[in-house]
């Protein structure tokens, strides 16, 4: 496209050799000769002489281009090739095919605290980790106070990090990483550490990095974070680029925004533990398409209880941005622990959910004891704006994450 791109990936491929299945010996003689030959067989395998069916492309023909200053999220399910892509971009592993051109000083952060030595003090580890991440001693010295302040470990600077709490450890590790100043930053899911407050601080710091005009490539399963930080997203699936575009569109697609509504979930197999046999969602008079926002929506469970007592059902409703809109459980029912659980239901009141698509996850367990059964995305349903006439006001869209019916107007 142009010579100005910060990162240009063309025809990128990466092939791995799977750990081959061992042969099964059929006789004692074979077993014996097999044992004698096995070092040679293993040598061959270690050297990469594997059959074609044991080869597997983690990435294949990946192409994209990132302009300076863009903050791009890489999303995709586990095994889609995200980590492989980052590893190649970080030069940790070699591609098998294709070419990448990177213009600018790159830092990659596939992990925080790489190389931290437990016996060394916080101070020593800052220098060690900084050097591993490619910072010059001068740079680290300049930012030392900032790093310490960010990590909030002033008092423990001269304590070996093995005596740190895990929170302090992670904060220190991230603080060093956060003070890298490359032109291009490649970040893996490193934000999934620390407590919520610190995560927020890290997100803020990352946002600053983006705002300073630096190019950032960010991999995460946290769609909220991706949405906050990035303006563009690339979705990988089975090693290829499935979608590349505006972050909202890609996330919606990723979250299954195009997936059909699933009104009923039926368990595929029996279990000796209690399990949910059937779960369905319905609305009176609505036969197909989305549910009307102005009518209640009913969820009903059929549960095989195996006569267990003290059961509890949890429910999570997630929108297509990956935000959990509602989380509740059967303990909120009156006389919850005297009820027969084989038939159970709940109702989403009118106007409780904003128009949009939602997924339902459930969990079934024994109170304070054990989880028996759970399912993510058991159901997918859509709430539709029911039109101005039926919808009380002249509004054409309710923008909140929660529906307009949450408030009680008096």
């Amino acid at each position: 496209m142009s010579d100005f791109s910060a990162i240009r990936v063309s025809g990128l491929g990466k092939q791995y050799v799977l750990g081959g299945a061992e042969r099964i010996d059929e006789s004692f003689r074979e077993m014996l000769s097999g044992a004698l030959m096995s070092p040679f067989r293993r040598l061959r395998r270690l050297q990469g002489g594997a059959a074609a069916d044991q080869r597997f492309w983690a990435l294949q023909d990946v192409n994209f281009e990132i302009m300076p200053g863009e903050v791009v999220g890489i999303v995709g399910r586990n095994g889609a090739g995200k980590s492989t892509l980052l590893k190649i971009l970080s030069r940790i592993t070699d591609p098998s095919d294709g070419r990448i051109e990177i213009r600018g000083r790159v830092s990659s952060l596939l992990e925080v605290g790489t190389g931290f030595h437990p016996e060394l003090t916080g101070r020593e580890n800052i220098f060690l980790n900084g050097a591993i991440l490619g910072m010059k001693r001068r740079e680290i010295l300049d930012k030392f106070d900032e790093i310490v302040a960010f990590a909030e470990v002033e008092k423990f600077l001269d304590t070996p990090v093995k005596r740190y709490s895990s929170g302090m450890y992670v904060r220190l590790a991230f603080a060093v990483a956060a003070h890298l100043e490359p032109e291009i930053l490649v970040v893996d899911e490193v934000l999934a550490v620390g407590d919520a407050a610190f995560q927020k601080k890290c997100l803020g710091k990352m946002q600053d990095v983006g705002n300073e005009g630096r190019t950032v490539l960010f991999v995460s399963h946290n769609m909220g974070a991706v949405k906050n930080l990035c303006n563009r997203a690339i979705m990988l699936s089975q090693g290829t680029v499935l979608m590349d575009g505006h972050v909202e569109e890609v996330i919606e697609y990723y979250m299954g925004g195009d997936s059909p509504n699933v009104r009923e979930y039926v368990a595929e197999s029996e279990s000796s533990d209690p399990f949910v046999r059937r779960l369905n969602i319905s609305q009176q008079q609505t036969v197909s398409g989305g549910f009307r926002i102005d009518k209640p929506i009913c969820l009903s469970f059929s549960i095989e209880t195996h006569d267990q007592q003290d059961l509890e059902v949890g429910l999570r409703i997630t929108n297509m941005q990956g935000i959990c809109v509602h989380h509740s459980c059967s303990a909120f029912m009156e006389n919850a622990y005297e009820k027969d659980f084989s038939e159970l239901g709940c109702t989403i009141p009118p106007y409780a959910l904003a128009p949009g698509k939602y997924a339902v996850d459930y969990g079934l367990g024994k109170r304070n004891y054990q989880l028996y059964d759970r399912k993510e995305n058991a159901l997918v349903f859509e709430v539709e704006f029911a039109g101005t006439l039926s919808d009380k006001t002249s509004a054409t869209y309710w923008k909140g994450i929660c529906g307009p019916g949450m408030l009680r107007w008096e």
Binding site: S2, F4, A6, Y16, L43, L46, M67, P68, G69, E70, K87, I88, L89, S90, R91, I92, T93, D94, P95, S96, D97, G98, R99, I100, E101, I102, R103, G104, R105, V106, S108, L110, E111, T114, G115, H117, E119, L120, E124, F127, L128, A131, I132, L133, G134, K136, R137, P160, E183
Partner: protein, 287 residues
């Protein structure tokens, strides 16, 4: 879409040299000295780390650096010097063997440390990019402190026995460089092999042991018939160890033996680095 930056912004953003091209590696590559130099600080930090960590949470601390070679010397003096009556070129056996143990211990520790260095830094190798060869290089540095401390012990022995103290001592630093060089060669080779074939974790201790007996450490090279001397010195450590003895005991150097040993040392080093560079980029996948 971001607008195309103008040429000047391009300059400001990137400078000029920061174009990185990532492509599949093919064939043999040379060691990238420029890059290695750029990562010198990482090297220093890693050496520092090893030195700092070495005697943490030990009671005796750096005293171990004195005790280890001293005890080994005592054992060898009793067994090889006392019981086996191995000749020592006319010097007291204790100082004769210590002058050789000094570089040998350093070498043996360096080889053992660097051969497992990559595997024990698997985490770093699979998460961060840097020239991999820095890891085995740096792992050798940790032994330098021990070497310095035991050199002091050797000096004390030289005073005690009243031997040595000649201009030959000036050659010691150069000889040390030669030992480091040979250790680098062997260490990088073994570290790379250990990544691919963990068998080497078991092989290396034996190798080091056998190597010691193949090297004139507990016996003088003069014990070997003249006709076969050159074979002994094909072992790069043999020439260097004998030269160390000459340096500390003040006897003349045997330049031809040093020459043969250094030559094989260089060949070994070149082969080792070439092999390392060839397999380096696969490390993260197989470590």
């Amino acid at each position: 879409m971001v607008a195309q930056p103008s040429e000047s912004i391009q300059e400001a953003y990137f400078g000029h040299e920061h174009l990185t091209v990532i492509e599949p590696a093919r064939g043999w590559r040379a060691l990238n000295f420029k890059e290695l130099w750029a990562y010198r600080e990482l090297f220093l930090v890693l050496v520092q780390r090893d030195i700092k960590v070495r005697y943490k949470q030990t009671v005796l601390g750096v005293v171990w650096a004195v005790l280890q070679p001293l005890l080994t010397m005592l054992i060898f003096t009793v067994i090889f010097g006392g019981l086996a009556k191995i000749p020592s070129d006319g010097y007291p056996y204790a100082i004769f063997v210590f002058a050789a143990l000094l570089p040998w211990t350093f070498f043996a520790n360096a080889v053992s440390a660097s051969s497992i260095s990559l595997v024990s830094s698997a985490n770093m190798v699979s998460k961060v990019y840097f020239p991999r060869v820095i890891i085995p290089l740096a792992s050798i540095g940790g032994g330098l402190v021990d070497l310095l401390v035991s050199t002091l012990v050797l000096f004390a022995l030289m005073v005690w026995y009243g031997v040595g103290w000649s201009a030959n001592l000036l050659a010691a630093p150069v000889l040390l460089l030669a030992v480091i060089f040979i250790a680098l060669g062997v260490g990088t080779l073994l570290s790379a092999l250990t990544v691919a074939y963990r068998d080497f974790r078991f092989v290396v201790p034996f190798l080091v042991q056998i190597w010691m007996y193949a090297t004139p450490v507990v016996y003088p090279a003069s014990l070997v018939p003249d006709k076969w001397q050159w074979v002994v010195f094909l072992n790069p450590m043999a020439g260097v160890i004998e030269a160390f003895r000459s340096a500390f005991l003040g006897r003349p150097f045997d330049l031809s033996s040093i020459g043969i040993s250094l030559l094989t040392g260089v060949v070994l080093f070149v082969l080792a680095v070439a092999y390392f560079e060839r397999v380096e980029r696969r490390f993260a996948d197989i470590i």
